[in-house]
């Protein structure tokens, strides 16, 4: 959108969990068509699914009459993915405060109920940012197309 390049994928879904799976598969296919490895495409798919799940669960509070828009655009050697919603904005500093979820198999319950999705996508992406203006929210993620292994450094979250 910012570069003027036509998106490789632009999809708008209703804010229903049942719509997320088919969207995820479209994202994976688009990444493969951009030349990503299967592993990298799967990591982008997972990141987008986590972002869209968050939009539905937190921004729309599971109300099913909202819309979530996902665009995937090639920008040189990177792919840029924007996940937009019109629900409640994510509280300030949420992204900056993302940390490793506490997981202790000897403890009950071992996995936290929330906070996993943002952690996952910040680990898999090269850059993650969030903006909210005039009732429109956007989580913006970037990933190098040719990277199939772990990132050289963790994505630096930022909020504008």
């Amino acid at each position: 959108v910012t570069s003027g390049a036509a998106p490789a994928l632009s999809v708008t879904i209703d804010s229903r969990m049942a719509c997320v799976g088919p969207l995820g598969e479209q994202v994976r296919t688009a990444c493969l068509e951009l030349g990503m490895t299967a592993g990298a495409a799967g990591e982008v798919e997972l990141s987008v699914v986590e972002a869209v799940n968050n939009a539905i669960e937190h921004a729309y509070q599971l109300a099913e009459d909202g819309r979530v828009e996902v665009t995937l655009t090639r920008q040189g050697s990177r792919v840029r993915i924007e996940v937009r919603d019109g629900g409640r904005p994510m509280p300030a500093e949420t992204l900056a405060r993302v940390r490793v979820p506490r997981v202790d198999p000897a403890d009950t319950p071992s996995l936290p109920e929330g906070g996993m999705g943002l952690y996952v996508l910040t680990q898999l992406m090269d850059a993650v940012s969030y903006e909210s203006r005039a009732g429109k929210n956007a989580l913006i993620m970037e990933r190098r197309i040719d990277r199939s292994g772990p990132p050289s450094s963790t994505a630096q979250p930022s909020r504008t």
């Binding site: 997320v20 699914v49 319950p109 071992s110």
Partner: protein, 84 residues
Amino acid sequence: MNIVESNQEGVVVLRVGNSRIDAASAAELRSALGAVVDRGVTRFVLDRSSVDFVDSTGLIRIDKVVQTFPTNREDAAALAGGAA
């Protein structure tokens, strides 16, 4: 969520028919696994060979069922978390 139960050499095997365990299907999986646990089954194999996608919601739901096991929790955790 399509789950097929079989008994192979005395072990309950639950084969997940869906290719995705995600926010849309996880509640159903949790309830299906919970029904098995409620029958007193404490050892089973969750066959995820058809599953190619699990999101964090799906993982958490599986974990919640594992945590209800009174015994053999480590065994169950290993089975549920094993590589697909």
